[in-house]
Symmetry: C2
Subunit: 246 residues, 2 copies
DNA sequence: TATGTCCGCTTGATAGGACATACTGCCTTT
DNA sequence: AAAGGCAGTATGTCCTATCAAGCGGACATA
């Protein structure tokens, strides 16, 4: 019983073949054509069906295994993971995440300055003494309701930042448009209770629970572009992720 | 100026060649032989130096790029990421994490039962009506200081669980010894303020900040093996991770 | 009938080649 | 001298091939 994937591979597309396969199988899983727990045909047959070589097919399946949609067992086969897999934590800003989910986030820029970096910031961004950074705090709302209070520091030798830019789109979007290719980020997630200031800004009461995130992002040239400290209302936000065993 | 990696590849070892290369380069980076920001030789030369084929070399470098230790740019080359990369969030238990860091964790089993699963648990573990599960709560301490309060549910058709087992080692260790091969887990991290019970157990005061984690783990046969809800003292624990852009 | 061995199926690992594409820097041209 | 094009280099993609290793069922034997 071969499962018909009905994928169409466009060899003239600039999209790599293996990635077209990834997208096709992802779509098949999400639309239910491939049911959770069902077994796929073996790699060689699948490659033959799509007129691809086995390594290309394997590369596609590797990605799907890494993202947790498939599990492979030698000598047995490959099957669709039964549970619904969440998207992994993306290297994107909260703004993008919310927009992608159909929400309409807004941003209030509370403070904005262009100053000499203090010691912790210099260390986080690997900057020399006397270097300048943008420093700003923003309040992110969804549907008029405050969700996150964000304080960030960005090195100033990349692209000019203005209050207007930050008020209209996400930080990562601004930086990407400025030519930054993010490669990785280190982040730490914890918890605190809201102080007076945070409670006021987030429209809650002092003593309520907040999720905290500290993040430093690195671009493809190895520069530490941005570091920040964010707090989120715990009743409105949590970090969800999928871990895959290597 | 070729950098001499001085890797020795053992072709008779059962460890795959590409993984030996991964380990070798990881070691070189951690010992400082490869400095942050330095460029590696190109793939073809490296493969030649180690008497490997280019695909094998690429597979090794792929892993290192994925884990965030290297960045590659087409037409330019591959370089060591400047910032120190933390270990990614592993699919392991808190007990293992602490042990690996040299700590000596202890576990108090507060409650332990073998009951019929309630509705939320049946849904989380994809169990039929009337299925039985182990249900237990544990208190994890380090150096006598309470760190985490953990409540878990485990399906009972895998391996027998006892209070004694859970008191002496981590849950994941017990399950792995029972033949479970974990493949992935979905988890959600948030925050709450401690209630009276949590505060008492964790030796803190009601109203202090706690980090929460809910997790469901899936094994290589697609079974949802374990689900749980943990709370950690926010002053002693946070989740640290590295995100890599794909 | 029960047990142990073997074989076929499937994924895992490795090799080597060919061509595509992006980036850098040099060289030519204006 | 500045701007544009071109060549070199490195990674990206894709192919054909081959052997290794784990798993499960079939088959033969005690």
């Amino acid at each position: 019983m071969a499962n018909q994937l009905n994928l169409s591979i466009d060899r003239s597309s600039p999209v790599p073949l293996y990635h077209q396969v990834v997208q096709g199988i992802e779509a098949a899983i999400h639309t239910g054509i491939l049911e959770p727990g069902s077994r796929l045909d073996n790699e060689i047959d699948l490659a033959a069906q799509l007129n691809l070589s086995r390594p290309t097919m394997r590369k596609a399946m590797d990605e799907l295994v890494r993202s947790g949609l498939l599990v492979r067992k030698r000598g047995v086969g490959t099957q669709v993971v039964s549970s619904q897999v969440r998207r992994p934590l993306e290297l994107s800003s909260l703004f993008d995440d919310l927009s992608n989910n159909g929400a309409k986030p807004t941003t209030d820029v509370l403070t904005f300055s262009h100053d000499e970096a203090d010691d912790p910031t210099r260390e986080a961004l690997h900057l020399p003494r006397g270097a300048m950074v943008y420093h700003f705090t923003r309040l992110r709302k969804v549907g008029g309701k405050p969700l996150a209070l964000m304080e960030n520091w960005v090195r100033d030798d990349i692209t000019p930042l203005t209050e207007e830019l930050l008020g209209s789109q996400g930080l990562y979007s601004v930086l990407r448009n400025g030519g930054v290719n993010f490669r990785l980020a280190t982040q730490r997630i914890g918890a605190v209770v809201a102080n007076e200031y945070q409670a006021t800004q987030l429209d809650t009461v002092p003593g309520s629970a907040l999720v905290t995130m500290e993040r430093t992002a690195v671009d493809d040239t190895g520069r530490n572009v941005e570091t920040g400290h964010h707090v989120y209302r715990a009743d409105s936000y949590s970090f969800e992720m999928t871990l895959v065993q290597r």
